[in-house]
Structures are given as C-alpha cells and as structure tokens.
Symmetry: C2
Subunit: 114 residues, 2 copies
Amino acid sequence: MIIKKQNMKQETRKGMRNGPGEVKISHMVPGDSIINGRLMAELSLEPGSGIGLHRHDKETEYYIITEGSGLVTEDDGKKDVIKGDIVVTGNGQSHSIENTGDTVLKFIAVIITE
Amino acid sequence: MIIKKQNMKQETRKGMRNGPGEVKISHMVPGDSIINGRLMAELSLEPGSGIGLHRHDKETEYYIITEGSGLVTEDDGKKDVIKGDIVVTGNGQSHSIENTGDTVLKFIAVIITE
C-alpha cells in the first residue's frame, strides 16, 4: 500500500510535552494501524520550538533527523544533533528536543512497542 | 542514545533480491538491537538500480521516501513514488522498488516484526 504525502493526517501541537512553540506532525500511517508500534510521523519544528522532556517505558522511540539541527537532552546530558543522526530512547529513558538552529528541524519519529 | 551518521555501519549490496544495480545501506541502528524489529536503515539507489520483488510474512516493512522518485511494484500493480510518500508492505504482501528517475533515490526502510 502506498500513502501519498498529501493524504497523510496533519496535526499541529502547541506546547508539546510542555516544550516551547509548536510542532507540526504529518502522520505517515495511522498510529493504530502499526502492529507493535504506535507512531510513524514526520515532525517539523521552527527555530525555537521543541518537545519537552518525556519518558518511554515498554517502547522505544527513534528520532531520525532529516533536516536541520537541534539540541537533544537525555538522562546523561545535552547533545547536538544534525541531519543524518538518530536518537534512540527506550527502556525507561527520557528525551527532549529543541530546534536551536536557524532553519526548520525535521525528523521522522517511530515508536515501536514491546 | 545518539548515533552519529558517520558511525553507522555501511553496506553495499549488488543484485539485492535479484534487482538491478546496487544498493547502499546505512544501518541507523544495528538490526538486532531493535525490540520487535529487525531493520532501520537509509537505502540509496542510483538511477536504474532497484530491489527485486520479495514478500513480507509476520512483519511489515515501511519505505519512507526521502529523496528522488521511483517505481514500486505491489501485488496489485506498479505505482510511482516520490519524496514524502510511504510504502507499507506486510501480511504476506510483496513489493519491489526501482529508481526510474534521474537523481538518487533515498528512503528509510523500517521492518517491524510481529
């Protein structure tokens, strides 16, 4: 099955996980259609926007950075990310992400459940 | 955990699934590190290269097209894909993909197992 970009469900969330600004979410597939998963989406954050710190239990979230750059906070500190990097967060770990660059930050978020 | 692009395992496969040309694979995470999954990688195909028809049982593969364009064959026919589209193949279905454009075709492949 092929889902065209223009047919994906769009969503805008302000203050996502108590982060600054807003996050545009393009759901590539409906979350409830994924066996052993619950999210596969492209997220877009303008400079200054972010997703606040949150924890993943019994699931792993992957952020695949596809455009721009940002700052990720994990349990062991803050780290820069750029296009091509991946952030892996599971097993009770937490993460946040903020667009600290001057261009849009885009990443694909995938959550695989246990 | 953050994995930088330059630290990802690179692989080149010729005649992948009996397809034409070769496929460059950048493994974003080791396949065996994924709970309920076995692949998360960026695949790059030059014009004319492709991955031959193959079937997915007890798992679903997602191709998230990130650059270029191509032609996908599914059980019900051939379909064009471009940047932003997603190909979803599971439940005993088959797919193949070929770069029919004149620029590199890139996509992120994710396999979630059942």
